[in-house]
């Protein structure tokens, strides 16, 4: 009994500084955000009133909100699926024996370690209209008749930002899957080859079971990160044109800094968080079912 008491004390000594810090930047502001969402606070007015759940009702009648939710879901799921797919493909290839394997594995991390702003400068330039290299190559090869203003176009802006974000986050999947692939005992491959299994069979019955746990964790983490992701869209299009690439983070940002509608933006933040929480728990539930944990 005395041991437990002294353990609690020691644990407190180590953990307390972090808890105080987190309270300062996270808990206290999150609490304020909850409170703010129940008021009509705005930077354009001196005073604010408590208005209960009115902000949330307003949200339910806001067409922009539904568009933002719709865009976010499309954006986050497309990007996470592509990251997983491309990441898996690259990892499987980089897991083969070839000269320069170590260097290649390091080089593919670069898009992830480079600041997003640099990546957006780079891709904004590559996608530039009309004098960007991508437009040039597509026109020269006859894929498109004339140069397309990719980032200023209502039909493409969401997809281009999604592509750039996918490109910069794929390395995380590559590294995670490569790590998991290394945990496969080489004797398993040999045994399978002796039994005459083809590449697809080896993938299905040896590789897949080994990478599935890592893969599913990674997918959820990337999904959450994509749902909350702000910078790529903000730097490339600021949610435009005409809201066509406006996801929830950009929607909330616009309420804050363009319309100064603090209470409403806070309500949107809380709603967004609730949605994320649903995704997180349904994932935990599914994971329990799938992996039998």
């Amino acid at each position: 009994m005395k041991k437990i008491a002294s353990d609690t004390k020691s644990a407190l000594f180590f953990i307390l500084p972090a808890i105080i810090c987190l309270a300062f930047i996270y808990f206290f502001p999150i609490f304020l955000c909850f409170y703010q969402s129940l008021t009509d606070e705005s930077l354009l007015r001196e005073t604010s009133n408590f208005i209960g759940l009115n902000n949330y009702f307003r949200l339910l009648n806001d067409a922009d909100f539904y568009r933002a939710i719709n865009n976010t879901i499309i954006w986050a799921f497309t990007s996470s699926f592509l990251q997983a797919l491309i990441g898996l493909g690259i990892a499987l290839i980089l897991n083969q024996e070839f000269k320069g394997r170590t260097v290649s594995r390091v080089l593919v991390i670069l898009p992830w370690t480079t600041p997003i702003i640099v990546i957006c400068v780079l891709w904004a330039w590559l996608f530039a209209h009309p004098a960007g290299i991508i437009n040039y190559l597509l026109v020269a090869s006859g894929v498109i008749g004339q140069s397309i203003p990719w980032l200023a176009s209502k039909s493409y802006s969401l997809w281009i930002t999604c592509f750039v974000w996918t490109w910069s986050s794929t390395p995380l999947f590559v590294i995670a899957v490569l790590g998991a692939l290394q945990s496969v005992p080489p004797s398993l491959y040999d045994a399978a080859k002796v039994d005459g299994a083809n590449a697809f069979q080896i993938f299905r019955s040896i590789v897949l079971p080994h990478i599935l746990p890592v893969f599913s964790v990674m997918f959820t983490l990337r999904l959450i990160a994509s749902f909350n992701h702000f910078s790529t869209i903000f730097f490339l299009t600021e949610g435009g044109p005409a809201g066509s690439s406006e996801t929830m983070p950009i929607f909330i940002f616009r309420r804050f800094w363009k319309e100064y509608d603090l209470g409403y933006a806070a309500a949107a933040s809380i709603t967004n968080m609730a949605l994320m929480y649903i995704i997180w728990s349904s994932y935990s539930f599914l994971r329990g079912k799938l992996l039998g944990e």
Partner: protein
């Protein structure tokens, strides 16, 4: 036999072809960016694209001449360094506490840390802004450093507590039998042994705060205190876009990240793998 040899070479060629495609896709854009920033002005703006008439660093000169790039660079380095020290100190204490002591609230704290991860940080902006403004931490690099240090704490606590868990408990207990206190054990026995973990956490922190835009844009208004991402963004959103000069600036911002990735890849890959497996 010949058939088998043919198959072997066909497979090799295919692998090399695919690797080249991957590298072109993932690394090609960076190479092109750095190359283009070294173009002379006339060749850069020639259409259709052509090989440069001359390789020059005039774009880099322009950046240093017309912007306070050196100041931004120093500010960014300063904030990254100071926030890293604060972060690592507190995160490693907490990571150790969570990994070592059986405490009723451990699970709850882990849940809270995950919760901070899924909370959209936009909801925190106004309260944080007000807090910092009232504490006199607005327009202060120290304020920004504190914010960065704490904001990245949940993530580093998770990473570090994973490393602490891997350290054998028996060694610590032996030290305690010899009369060392908890703190002494932590400082003298445990810390020196998890240096790889500390380096990994430091790397993740650096990578994150080197590219952080949002808080830097909101908490800093003076030009002399600006960090690189907001500076680069305002160049990008200028009335005329000087792509050649912009690419030069972007290359310089990317440079430390590039060097660090190449030098510390082992830690990065280990950290990422461990982080992904633990989830």
């Amino acid at each position: 036999m010949a058939n088998k040899l043919f198959k072997h070479y066909a497979y090799k060629i295919m692998i090399y072809f695919l690797v080249i495609v991957i590298l072109l896709y993932m690394v090609g854009p960076f190479v092109y960016m750095i190359f283009a920033s070294l173009y002379d002005k006339r060749s850069f703006w020639t259409w259709p694209p052509k090989w440069p008439d001359e390789i020059t660093i005039s774009a880099y000169d322009w950046i240093f001449k017309y912007t306070n790039f050196t100041t931004y660079y120093i500010n960014s380095l300063l904030v990254a360094f100071v926030s890293m020290i604060i972060n690592l100190f507190i995160s490693s204490l907490a990571g150790y506490g969570l990994a070592r002591f059986k405490w009723r609230l451990n699970d709850l704290i882990m849940k809270i840390i995950i919760f901070t991860y899924i909370f959209p940080f936009f909801g925190l902006i106004i309260p944080i802004f007000r807090l910092f403004y009232n504490l006199g931490l607005y327009d202060s690099l120290f304020g920004l450093s504190i914010l960065y240090a704490i904001f990245n704490m949940p993530f580093n606590i998770i990473i570090l507590s994973g490393f602490f868990q891997m350290f054998p408990k028996e060694i610590e207990e032996a030290a305690k039998v010899d009369g060392a206190s908890n703190i002494m054990t932590f400082l003298k026995i445990v810390m020196p042994n998890i240096v790889p973990g500390i380096i990994t956490a430091a790397l993740f922190h650096y990578i994150w705060c080197w590219g952080e835009y949002y808080f830097a844009a909101i908490l800093i208004s003076k030009d002399a205190l600006r960090t690189l991402p907001p500076a680069l963004y305002s160049l990008m959103r200028g009335e005329t876009v000087f792509y050649r000069e912009l690419l030069a600036a972007a290359s310089m911002v990317a440079f430390p990240a590039l060097i660090i990735t190449l030098l510390t890849q082992k830690f990065l890959i280990k950290g990422l793998t461990a982080g992904a497996i633990k989830g």
